[in-house]
Subunit: 208 residues, 2 copies
DNA sequence: TAGAATTTACGGGTTTTCCCTCATACTAAT
DNA sequence: ATTAGTATGAGGGAAAACCCGTAAATTCTA
């Protein structure tokens, strides 16, 4: 439970110092917080994967190529939206990174207005996914509090079985099921059976 | 009611007759059913929006431009994956159509193997969305059978309220709630309260 | 060995669901 | 006008499910 909600920031990854500077100035003028990196390696070392905001990445960089950086970021759990900014892209590369889940690819030089608009969109997307992740994580933490048996009982409870049936199913007494069930309700922080089922269903559907 | 599950087909929309022919041959050799259209207008007129499969669209066509065809298709409810095949795309156009939800954009001329692979992917994607839509539609049809009052009662039931509370909430007798509740269970084709909640939750989350 | 976790019995209480009969009222179709 | 369907209600009864406190045994683990 550290401060999970750090302020969103635009991570700029571009080896071209002067262009990077232009991006920083442009975005800061719009009130965005920015952080700059000269290459993908530096970014991966410094930036935590759960950073909120979005990334602005140059495609053609020494070291890790932008397209590979995207893949590496995803495999490391970075979920922030990624916007590519490049002067060297061709159609095939553009299609590739977009298929890889990039938010957009913008050609250099680009209008400040377009850049700002995309970053705004990136923040909006990140906001939604962050909210989703927050819900999932909270539920995960609750779930982690359950003992193995309690989890087992919960599965059957949300499956719609009555205490009596659960008892027979697990070959334990009805009273025991009641005890576990009560604990489950407590630990999952729900008031009603309906809430328990709803939480469970939305969790397994979004987390899967 | 009608036969909803027509066989998946690749809709080819390209004004270049000889290239179209090559696509047809290539895909038919792999066992795909194909249908060809000379322009977007013809396609929109002839093809029903719930057609399953995927679309192969040329970008630069007389009449409707490919990028606009994508937008028009989406606004008309076409949900099939769209693959662009073009010789005239630039980076900006590629990014635009990919942002618009295209599955991929491939440059002409292209390898037969790549084309087939993408079409296969398109079919796979369509399969999943079609399955989802099937579930949603079935639930919608069940929902449509409910009377206004029954729907109202159901909302409160899945909200976790007891019959007594629902009765007070709607200012009707408990007995009446019971009647409605029983009908809801029948019409929604669920056995248990848990199933009702689960169906409801997954419906509102996927249909929204 | 202390402490969770798991289990159970006993005994009791509350709540909910489910079903019954009987009855009224409105609408739509025949 | 009659019939069918829908919605609504009263009042009550029986079965089932659920909830809880107390006390205690067992097992496994830190």
């Amino acid at each position: 439970m550290g401060k999970r909600a750090t302020n969103p920031v635009v991570s700029i990854i571009d080896d071209d110092r002067s262009y990077r500077r232009w991006i920083e100035v442009t975005l800061q003028a719009e009130g965005f917080a920015v952080e700059s990196y000269e290459c993908g390696g530096e970014f991966l070392e410094v930036c935590p994967p759960d950073r909120s905001g979005c990334a602005l990445i140059d495609l053609a960089m020494p070291g890790i190529h932008g397209a590979n950086l995207l893949l590496e970021m995803r495999s490391r759990g970075f979920q922030m939206p990624i916007i590519f900014l490049t002067a060297t892209a061709d159609v095939a590369m553009t299609a590739t990174v977009m298929r890889g889940g990039a938010l957009d690819l913008i050609e250099k030089p680009c209008e400040a207005a377009l850049l700002v608009e995309r970053v705004r969109e990136g923040f909006a997307v990140d906001c939604k996914t962050a909210a989703d992740r927050g819900v999932i994580e909270k539920q995960s933490r609750r779930l982690a509090q359950l003992t193995a048996r309690e989890r087992q009982v919960m599965e059957l409870v949300v499956g719609g079985l009555a205490n009596k049936q659960i008892a027979r199913n697990l070959s334990i007494s009805e009273r025991t099921v009641e005890v576990h069930r009560a604990r489950v309700m407590q630990k999952m922080e729900v008031e009603s059976f309906a809430d328990l089922v709803a939480r469970h269903v939305s969790f397994v559907s979004t987390a899967a």
